[in-house]
């Protein structure tokens, strides 16, 4: 009896996100048709754009890396019942930390592995410190972290805009970007003949680490306890404010790392359009995976594929690339729309299995 209950529960857990994805594609297809495009042709182009060739697969994996890192970051904050929607700002904080530290370290002739480690570590620290602020405001003053983190996001994006037009602008002062990073600081390619860089490996390793922390350590247990019932956790000797701030720091650090990886692996310089809104859609990545870091690897790959695919599609048949933002938002909408349904079925199963 118990066995079959668990089996059904698992089936529902897998079926719900798939249903959400299918529903999103159906509704989006209708909107595409309404806007006068050929839906099937567009979807085929997305598929080809993401999986059509060796190059496009590499591109898709590169796009997935930040989605996975940011998604895991959002998930750990969520588990501790904080809502970090400012991952975009922490991503840019990390990218800024990366550009600044590269600017200092480039003259020291360090071996590549050390140089890359130091730079990425500074991205981690920048993102973490910036992520700490909404956590602190929530713990100390009870300010809504949704509003504070999004405001801080806007502030950071403007600040990076100032930096790349002023203090750290490239030497010719023509473009709003930093000068290209030295060759030693670039992430190595890991697939012959493509531009697939090591970022995806970082993303997978960090997803595994966070999974381990959440499931196998006391700290992880405390995060989940504080997330489920703040009062009960406090009664059990857990300081919920500490959990709020520390999960926000981890969340920010992962976002910052993603920013550093994007600069070292893809753009090789810092400018404002390095992110197509990774931070916002990371929320959908995390929720689609039901906040499980291992499953986030899969949902991150899906979102990477959607982004890379839509970019290609836009180039091939002229449907706006903004379609990917729409598709991703619809996926999230259906995920949360199906949530009550899922808990209803689960509750019913629970009653029947007792």
């Amino acid at each position: 009896m118990r066995q079959s209950y668990r089996f059904i529960e698992l089936t529902i857990k897998i079926a719900m996100p798939i249903m959400a994805i299918i529903s999103a594609f159906l509704l989006c297809g209708l909107m595409l048709a309404a806007a006068g495009y050929d839906t099937l042709e567009a979807y085929k182009a997305i598929w080809m754009g993401a999986f059509g060739s060796k190059t496009s697969i590499a591109l898709m994996l590169n796009k997935s890396a930040p989605f996975i890192l940011l998604g895991v970051g959002v998930a750990i904050a969520f588990r501790g019942s904080s809502f970090n929607i400012g991952a975009e700002g922490q991503f840019f904080a990390g990218a800024l930390g990366c550009a600044l530290s590269e600017g200092i370290l480039r003259n020291f002739n360090l071996p590549p592995w050390l140089l890359i480690t130091l730079i990425l570590f500074s991205s981690l620290v920048f993102g973490g410190v910036y992520g700490a602020i909404p956590g602190y405001l929530k713990a100390k003053r009870g300010s809504s972290e949704v509003v504070t983190s999004i405001m801080l996001s806007s502030v950071m994006i403007l600040f990076v805009g100032y930096m790349v037009n002023g203090p750290i602008q490239e030497p010719n002062k023509l473009y709003s970007e930093t000068q290209e990073i030295v060759e030693a600081a670039r992430l190595p390619y890991i697939w012959e003949g493509t531009r697939l860089h090591a970022g995806i490996l970082f993303a997978i390793v960090f997803a595994l680490i966070i999974y381990f922390i959440l499931e196998k350590t006391t700290f992880g247990y405390k995060i989940k306890a504080a997330g489920q019932n703040r009062l009960a956790a406090e009664y059990g000797g857990i300081n919920p404010n500490f959990i709020t701030v520390s999960t926000f720091i981890i969340s920010g650090a992962l976002s910052g790392l993603a920013g550093g990886i994007e600069v070292l692996g893809v753009s090789w310089k810092l400018y404002l359009s390095i992110s197509p809104g990774y931070g916002y859609n990371a929320i959908a990545v995390a929720l689609l995976a039901q906040l499980n870091p291992l499953v986030i690897i899969l949902s991150g790959l899906l979102f990477g594929a959607l982004n890379a695919g839509c970019n290609q599609m836009s180039r091939m048949i002229g449907v706006p690339a903004a379609l990917s933002a729409l598709l991703q938002a619809l996926v999230l909408l259906f995920v949360i729309a199906y949530m009550p349904l899922q808990s209803k079925i689960e509750k019913r199963l629970m009653r029947e299995s007792l």
Partner: protein, 313 residues
Amino acid sequence: MLDTLMSIDLTSLMQSTIRLAVPFILAAIGGLFSDTAGISSIELEAVILIGAFAAFAGAYYSGSLYVGLLCAVIAGILLNTIYAYMVVGTGASAPLVATTLMLLAIGLTNFFNRALFGVSIEVVRVKSMQAISIPLLHNIPFFGKVLFEQNILGYFTFLLVLAQWFFLKKTALGLEWRAVGENPVAADTAGIPVRRYRAIGVLLTGIFAALAGAYLSIAASNIFIEKMSAEKGYAAFAIIILGKYTPGGALLGCLLYGFADALQLNLQAMGADVPNQFLLMLPYVFTLIVLFVSGKGRRPSGHGKFFAGRSHR
């Protein structure tokens, strides 16, 4: 810097203060309709953005600004129907649904903006709303120019603040409304349809926040820009908290915001020797300070508490 500040013309500064405050006021007063009934209005940002686009598209295709306003209202109602269904109906987390709607609003407006208007070199424009001077009153020195030369949405906004204040404080229905926000269970026992009031509150929020968006695209300007809501909805949400969930408090907070924004724009225009980005940061930093000072604020005690309805108990 000080010289620059001193040389600003006070009348024009106050005029732009009001002009910039209007969308905040519409959004915050709209938000209060759900907040006072106990439902968080954190979805304002999404509604403003959708409203701005719907108004622009409606006005562009019909050639009439009033059709634009109507389209904004319809879009706001549709979006907040989702919000009401999920938050009031199923008890889903308000910040979560609000964020989803924000992403949806960004996705929809970006996609249809490019699909309908393209990204050509020539910017698509509409004819924007004109100011209407009220006879006699607009001749009063200073106040005449500041208050009585608004466009129709501006006047509507002032009346709306008064109407909401009257409704919440002076009518029996308003008392019931606030009871739903303070203590939904007690209100239910007294026979007040808690969930219906809350759902209506969310829809009213949708209408007025969408008009705030319309103000941005077809009254204060004549174009639609992607993400043109620029976190104004979140700022309005913070203002509601700062204003202790009252119409008067929200009005004051919005005027303060409008003033800060006007000052910032004036400084930019006069070429103050501060980088542009830092001036643009001011409203966001301002919101952060507001949130730090007001913290959770004094909100209705039933705020954010899901009420499942009688049959579920």
